[in-house]
Amino acid sequence: MKPELAHLIVVPIVLPLLVTALLLLLGARRRRLGSLIHVGAALANLLVALEILRRIHADGLPGAVKVYLAGNWPAHFGIVLVADRLSALMLVLTGVVGLAAAVYSSAAWGRVSVFFFPLFQIQLMGLNGAFLTGDLFNLFVFFEVLLAASYGLQLHGSGRSRVRAGLHYIAVNLLASALFLVGLAILYGILGTLSMADIALKVPRVPQSDRGLLHAGAAILAVAFFTKAAMWPLGSWLVPAYRTASAPVGAIFALMTKVGVYTLLRLSTLLFSSSAGPSAHLGGAVLLYGGLSTIGFGALGLMASLRLGRIAGFSILVSSGTLLAAIGVGEASVTSAALYYLLSATLAASALFLLVELVERAASGEESPLRYAQLELDEDTNLDDAEAALVGRDIPVSLALLGLAFMACVLIVSGLPPLSGFVAKLQLMMALFNPGGAQVAHEPTAVTWCFCGLLLLSGLSATVSLSRAGIQQVWSTADHPARRWKVVEVAPVLALISAAGWLTLSAEPVLHYTRAAAEALYDPRGYVEAVLSTKPVPGPASGAGEEEAP
């Protein structure tokens, strides 16, 4: 890394915080300037993330890892920020979704409360930090940062159902955070370190008498992440909380379960890699079966839901389950496909959350979908007797775009061609059937069948449910006179969809990238070495160079 840009890694954390401070000092008076700063910061965030990704990828090494020693202390003593391919990918995803949501929110949401923008920025900071940190406790802190902001954002606007959902959301997350701490404490008690890389080094050397404790710590830690990733049966909180959140918040929340997934992926590959001795691949089965049941749960929920908001929530559950199960399989090829899936699913879910609000704004005052479900059974109109004329109706451009965007969301969420959702599911299934590549003979196991079946089934149930809700809520919107949507509201949706479209077209380079990321994950030596060998900048403050073994 060029020295003058060595600090790039810390920017995704510092920038939002700085903006938060500025926005707070700016106060409520200068809204326009505030929202300008807000959007500008989100844009800068994306650009920085892209630059980090570009640099890491440009390295070309299999285990390209950039390490930043916050406070100039050597890795396992101070807190270290690590950007590898996976982190960079998540940063970019955060950047894209964050920018879209920021632009969307600049339309009106800031006006509702002066705190929306600061909280949003804090949320970004938390997400970025969680993706970057290489320290277990710092991870906890960034989890708390992003959760604290998310509490505020979720509750934004208040109202009965929102507060009720928020109460559950907060209670569940507080409990999960407590478990996080318990698990983390046990790991520290056994290993004496908090640096993830250092932990990875020490896990194989844990004496047999301590290993049970180590596993218990890891298990309790995992339960916290399971909860945050909304694994069944710990994920019932998700749908109400996400459904009631305002649109840009829902969009950014689409990322939040992914943080849980990311952490599970990061820690399970780092701590329990194949070189972890007796602890290798610990908990894979739990992840796998938990993930599968989450997919099933999500599919059920999709089938059962009539409202778009709920459907969007359940689609998040499905994606979460898919990712968890894919991680549980523990194969680089499957993980690579899962990473691609993660990108696609997150973009689609974010777009969907933004869309839901636009649609619901237009369709407010419509008949309730529940009544619609009743209607379906009752009448049986003959084709001829329908009163409506056989003359098409005009669809305003904005609505047409929105309709197309909605359709694109449906396609991606349910994995129908030709968009990225299809590529993702295809890749996943191909990888599941041939984890070692097409040429390597491999007998599909029951799990493979189950996984693929659930993938297809969840796709079907997404199709059925989204088309049902879409027809009811999007198409019928066309009957109404033109709605007032602002460009800044429609544009982010289209941008997210376009990003997904780009994913489809550039599937090859993206998959190339995710493959490299996944392979690096399953061979964490590069990560560990890079982190532990990074030297502080020599100078008066830190007596660098004379680093000693712990």
Binding site: F137, V141, E144, A148, Y151, L155, S158, G159, R160, V163, R164, G166, L167, H168, I170, A171, L174, L175, S177, A178, L181, V182, L184, A185, I186, Y188, G189, L194
Partner: protein
């Protein structure tokens, strides 16, 4: 003494779990607050506990774990205390808002459901 301390942590945790599973929001709040005591003590007990060996280095003592207690868990607990306080405050306010909006202090916002 270790056994007693472990017992304290267990009792705090058990009482917290009991409260967290209760149907009244205020009980859940108390439970979460108690749980943070338990967790803080739990983290704290991970460091080697010593009496009278605070991690405040003095020139005459060799800076090792013989003469000072482990500062790391303390730093962690300190952060955890503050975060715990913040989240408790938040939960309290949300609880109040929920009580005001739903007219009941049941965690699900529904009337009696015992």
């Amino acid at each position: 003494m270790e056994a007693v301390l472990a017992l304290v942590i267990g009792v705090l945790g058990g009482a917290a779990v009991w409260l967290v599973l209760r149907p009244r929001t205020f009980q859940v709040l108390l439970g979460l607050a108690l749980f943070s005591y338990a967790v803080n003590l739990f983290i704290f007990s991970m460091g080697s506990l010593f009496i009278g060996k605070p991690p405040i280095v003095a020139a005459e003592l060799a800076p090792d774990l013989e003469h000072y207690t482990d500062p790391m868990p303390q730093a962690l607990v300190l952060t955890a205390i503050v975060i715990g306080f913040a989240t408790t405050a938040l939960f309290l306010v949300v609880l109040l808002a929920a009580r005001g909006l739903s007219g009941t202090d049941h965690v699900d916002g529904t009337k009696e459901q015992r």
